[in-house]
Symmetry: C2
Amino acid sequence: MGREDEMYIRHSRQDYTWEGVERMPYKEEGLAPFKAIARQILFSDQDFECELRYFEMAADGFSTLERHAHAHAVIILRGEGHCLIGDTVRQVGIFDLVRIPAWTWHQFRATRGEPLGFLCMVNARRDKPQLPNEEEFAAMTNDTVLAAFFKGTLIT
Amino acid sequence: MGREDEMYIRHSRQDYTWEGVERMPYKEEGLAPFKAIARQILFSDQDFECELRYFEMAADGFSTLERHAHAHAVIILRGEGHCLIGDTVRQVGIFDLVRIPAWTWHQFRATRGEPLGFLCMVNARRDKPQLPNEEEFAAMTNDTVLAAFFKGTLIT
């Protein structure tokens, strides 16, 4: 593959990885809770005011429970699972569109015994995520569905 | 589905359409050449500095041959086909990433007897496309591969 081809096309390896795209850690370890999730940056440069990333968690993996001023635009590419948005847990499956509005708590979980992967479009310039404090997390776990979601014992 | 659900999730109908997303004409008829292609706007609002759209052409359909200052970030979601980028025709298939740089001639064609569908991320603020003039188009068709691509007789 020539340099020009690399610039224009990155072929899918058909296993949710791409030629020339690095499979990276989701975040720096220790900064926030997460499990079995990887990040690939598909488009991120000065030509675009947004970035397009692909996140994938293994079965039982989860993203960080967090919120921030910037919004997320998500399309599921692989598998099924659940996501928490605000105070409600929802099922998601292939090609579903998920909008995470500003300052809305959110977390994705691969609850179906299979990987869950999604594309996420996000503004290139954005603020840092906030984690829930103990009080906020305790309030969320008062809801039995949310409590089961966080424990990984949600059955639906 | 409640109003809150509509705001957060648009479920895929598993046929490359989505709840609450209108399947629209690609462009206004007569403005530029194209064939058998539809547009769905998945995310486009003030929360994002880019838009995410889904374009799908039926077998033998094609997008407009054009160029512009803004770049496109594409990921194929359905089928196989070919795209022209600059002066080269390339095969594309599911999940391949395609970058269309600024001022680069480009066109997608469903050359495989099946639909070709792709997500396209683009800056929300962007310039209008330019079409090739007769001289520019004639120069392109001097290339036998490009000529076959435009005629829809490309065999690879």
